[in-house]
């Protein structure tokens, strides 16, 4: 029983990370109808920057927030310099740009930081909280951090006029321009936020999966599964999807298929959702006349 509960808690902890990354995917999908394949690599690169800062002696939480800010700026820059020129291009061109971006960032990270695996510190104590054996301190801390992140994002989008403008720009660019919203910048801001969210996910998952240029490939796959499960156009669905995928992955890994085959769970989920319910559990069903 004890291990079972621990597996679930660990699942929620990694699930929160998948949820954050899935949310970043959904945010960009909602405003541009593109899946950002480079989302995971941006998160990985940001985590390396955090590692650099921590190596240089910057206290963890200062490094944490600096990294989010740098990732935000990187996201805005990528949108302005790389994505905007192909904004109106056919979807396949955009996909190729995303894949190119993914490979470029991955290689750059390898070039700057090397391909050897590094350990990444957790800001939380190594002994379990309250002497509990159900959950580790990092798991509990990671759950709290992602929860705080999700609540902050919710409040931002729901209650600030900038958040409202971003939602408006994603939905109806033409009407948004007619009320004075600078739609292009809202897209860039969305990329910045998505990169910032990814950075948090990267820093929370790095102590578990260790730091290397390919650390996010598995995580991104689970995030895809989470986003699809919840509905690719539903932010709330992405969060719930992330939690479900995290728990499912852990339980199946521990009791059914073993850790070696865990990643197949994500693939299986993606295929099952696409076959049975392509709009996901919370997504809108879109019918179009052809």
């Amino acid at each position: 029983m004890e291990t079972f509960i621990h597996q679930i808690m660990a699942g929620i902890a990694t699930g929160g990370i998948y949820a954050a990354l899935a949310l970043a995917l959904v945010m960009i999908y909602q405003s541009t109808h593109h899946i950002n394949f480079a989302q995971g690599e941006i998160a990985m690169f940001a985590t390396y920057l955090a590692w650099l800062l921590i190596q240089a002696g910057v206290p963890y939480w200062l490094a944490f927030f600096c990294t989010i800010a740098i990732a935000f700026l990187l996201g805005v820059m990528i949108q302005r310099l790389v994505i905007r020129p192909v904004e109106k291009a056919p979807v396949l061109n955009v996909v190729v740009v995303f894949i190119g971006l993914m490979i470029t960032i991955n290689s750059l990270a390898g070039w700057f930081f090397g391909f050897t695996i590094k350990s990444f510190p957790s800001p939380f104590p190594s002994h379990p909280p309250f002497g509990s054996s159900y959950v580790s301190s990092h798991e509990l801390g990671s759950i709290s951090v992602t929860l705080a992140l999700l609540i902050t994002l919710f409040l931002f989008f729901r209650y600030t006029s900038l958040g409202l403008a971003m939602r408006a720009a994603a939905q109806n660019p033409e009407s948004s321009r007619l009320v004075g919203i600078r739609v292009g910048w809202m897209l860039a801001l969305g990329w910045g936020l998505a990169a910032g969210i990814g950075a948090v996910a990267g820093m929370m998952v790095a102590p578990v999966v260790f730091l290397d240029p390919n650390m996010m490939s598995g995580v991104l796959l689970y995030a895809f599964a989470a986003a699809l499960l919840g509905g690719i156009d539903s932010p709330g669905g992405a969060v719930i999807g992330g939690m479900v995928v995290g728990v499912l992955e852990n339980l199946l890994g521990a009791y059914v298929i073993g850790t070696e085959l865990k990643l197949t769970v994500a693939m299986l989920l993606i295929i099952t959702v696409l076959v049975i319910r392509p709009s996901g559990f919370f997504g809108k069903v879109i019918v179009s006349r052809v």
């Binding site: 006029s161 409202l164 403008a165 939602r167 408006a168 939905q171 109806n172 033409e174 009407s175 948004s176 321009r177 007619l178 009320v179 004075g180 919203i181 600078r182 739609v183």
Partner: protein
């Protein structure tokens, strides 16, 4: 009366297709001007040209300031509110959020909240539907919402594209009454595009007639109402 909007030698085109040819229009401050014409005459395009949503050549002056080289979102900042054809509702947002977006470029929270209340007195039905998703509103309600959203800018110039489109006559009359009241009380200059010429000429004090992208007639609303050719072609006599 001074001229608020001055359009000189305006040409507009969608890609290779030219839609407006050497248009000259003057809109007087504080009045209601209507732009009449059949389908495809270029009425909507004229409004879109003012908001720079089509590529144009020629000069457009708003209160003496040249706006034809500005981006759409900057023209809004000069006080031009545009209710587009199809109403441009943010369907997934609530009614109140739609209204608040109208005042996006304004800064004073107190004034915005006061104007929001004012819109709810103009359009009590919007107040009832305040927290409802705007896409679930009826056509008439969405048209009211579109006009109220535009007014939330406190515009100098209100561009209205076919507010009567697809609505029941009773609702149309209600909306036109409210527009007339708003023009009187807030001194908002209105440029109204309408297919329903009888209705538009009743409301407006000045009118222009477009045919195939060219201006063919202009005058006071009364003059056009009494013109035999207009009566035959547009008023159904």
């Amino acid at each position: 009366m001074s001229i608020l909007l001055d359009i000189q030698h305006l040409n507009a085109n969608y890609g290779a297709t030219q839609v407006l040819f050497d248009l000259n229009l003057q809109i007087h401050e504080g009045g209601i001007t209507t732009l009449l014409g059949a389908n495809g005459a270029g009425k909507t395009t004229t409004l879109r040209a003012v908001s720079q949503m089509v590529s144009t050549t020629g000069t457009i002056l708003l209160g003496g300031i040249q706006i034809d080289s500005l981006a759409t979102e900057d023209i809004v900042r000069h006080g031009v509110a545009h209710v587009p054809d199809g109403r441009g509702t943010f369907t997934a947002l609530t009614t109140e959020e739609n209204l608040r977006l109208g005042s996006y470029t304004r800064t004073s929270k107190a004034e915005i909240n006061a104007d929001l209340e004012k819109m709810f007195t103009y359009f009590p039905r919007l107040k009832e539907r305040k927290d409802q998703q705007a896409g679930t509103l009826s056509g008439g309600e969405q048209q009211m919402l579109a006009i109220a959203r535009a007014l939330m800018l406190r515009p100098r110039l209100l561009l209205l594209d076919e507010p009567s489109f697809g609505l029941a006559p009773l609702i149309v009359r209600e909306i036109f009454q409210i527009m007339s009241a708003i023009n009187q009380s807030d001194r908002v200059t209105i440029l109204l595009v309408e297919q329903n010429a009888a209705l538009a000429l009743d409301l407006a004090d000045h009118a222009y007639l477009l045919e195939a992208g060219r201006l063919v007639m202009s005058g006071s609303a009364q003059e056009l109402q009494n013109d035999p050719a207009i009566r035959r072609s547009y008023l159904g006599d």
